[in-house]
Symmetry: C2
Subunit: 205 residues, 2 copies
DNA sequence: TCGTTCATATACGGTGCGTATGTGAGTTGT
DNA sequence: ACAACTCACATACGCACCGTATATGAACGA
């Protein structure tokens, strides 16, 4: 009874399924980002990639399950970008600031904004309990912990500081996204973010 | 032809309508807070106050219109509470901190959390463009402006600082609300909020 | 070759929204 | 005081959408 042993044998069919799964996720990212979760029709979505709702409900629990998959994917991508940015920064402190700014800029992407910041929390609940365990928050917290150990930052509660910083960046992003002149507002937002973050410093720069 | 001139004459009927409108809003606050906007059925909601959907669509544009009314009402109440808290504080700076803490605590209320922080932004879009012109943000900004004029706070962009502070408080609130031990987490959140806010000070305390 | 499994399509029921239409109470004009 | 009208609400309808139950057809194993 070739349950899972075959591997390559059933690989072709399995690959076909994974392929369609990926196609559905890609379509969902586009549909959720442009129309919003509630307004996105699963009929249209599946048809747009040449399938029907049957395929959807075979690969995912339900509409919410598809959103979970999308959120998980985007979360991973964001975390990867943040990690790269932090490692590029010359100092840990500049890394923290750069993370915050990058977060703000990322949230200008309609996909991230709509799915991760608006519909995601409303439909799936508190982001801190999401599948990837909120990779973005983890990264911020890791940076803050290092900064405390290095004596640069006051011994604050790491999770609290990380969450509030992320929250500040988030609302900044929503503000920038809705602005008439994003460039200018982005500068203001980044400035304010640095001011607030400097409150964590042991001694002012 | 008495179009609107009568006033008191049609007052009785108009009052009846306003009464039902208020009943619907009250029911909506409860339903939206407990079930969420999407899951709240307008049939059940109207029936719960002895009406039908006919009354709803006579008083409001649509389901979203009802949410607008609810949001407007809650926004006003929050603003009123914040105003009272700020006026009670001995100094402006303490007022700003107290506002932030009060905001966090208010967001523990499921009604505020679910409607104003989760479903509201997802369904109605960016809170900064809401009807009451975002009374809470206005209050924070007013306080910051006074603090800058008093020389206590650095000359930062008022709107930027206000938005980021609100955002920090918001995410703090969501964190506290989802915590197993709200009391303890609330303390951590408030601490972190003060640390961040102190970044705005011209000179450290 | 035949049966089994798996990925997907098709068919169905239920729910909920928005709208078009009906209705009775109250108001206006004469 | 009676007829015409308005208004607040109920009723009835169509439509879209989700989730599930069932059917199908291709690949794989024996």
């Amino acid at each position: 009874m070739g349950k899972d042993g075959a591997g390559m044998a059933k690989g072709k069919r399995a690959a076909g399924m994974a392929e369609n799964r990926a196609k559905l996720i890609r379509a969902a990212r586009a549909a959720f980002a442009t129309q919003g979760y509630a307004a996105a029709s699963m009929d249209e979505l599946t048809a747009s990639v040449g399938l029907t709702r049957g395929a959807l409900y075979h690969s995912f629990e339900d509409k919410k399950g598809l959103l979970w998959a999308v959120v998980e994917q985007i979360d991973g991508e964001m975390a990867e970008r943040l990690r790269a940015i932090r490692e590029q920064a010359p100092t840990l402190w500049q890394g923290l600031l750069a993370e915050g700014c990058a977060y703000i800029e990322m949230a200008l992407d309609p996909e991230i904004q709509r799915i991760m910041l608006l519909d995601g929390p409303a439909v799936l609940g508190d982001p801190s309990k999401w599948p990837g365990e909120n990779a973005c928050l983890d990264i911020t917290m890791r940076t803050i912990r290092s900064l405390i150990e290095a004596g640069v930052v006051k011994p604050v509660d790491v999770e609290a500081a990380g969450r509030l910083l992320n929250g500040a960046a988030l609302s900044a992003a929503l503000w920038v996204a809705a602005a008439d002149d994003p460039k200018e507002v982005l500068n203001k937002a980044v400035d304010a973010f640095r001011q607030l973050a400097s409150g964590l410093l042991r001694q002012p720069v």
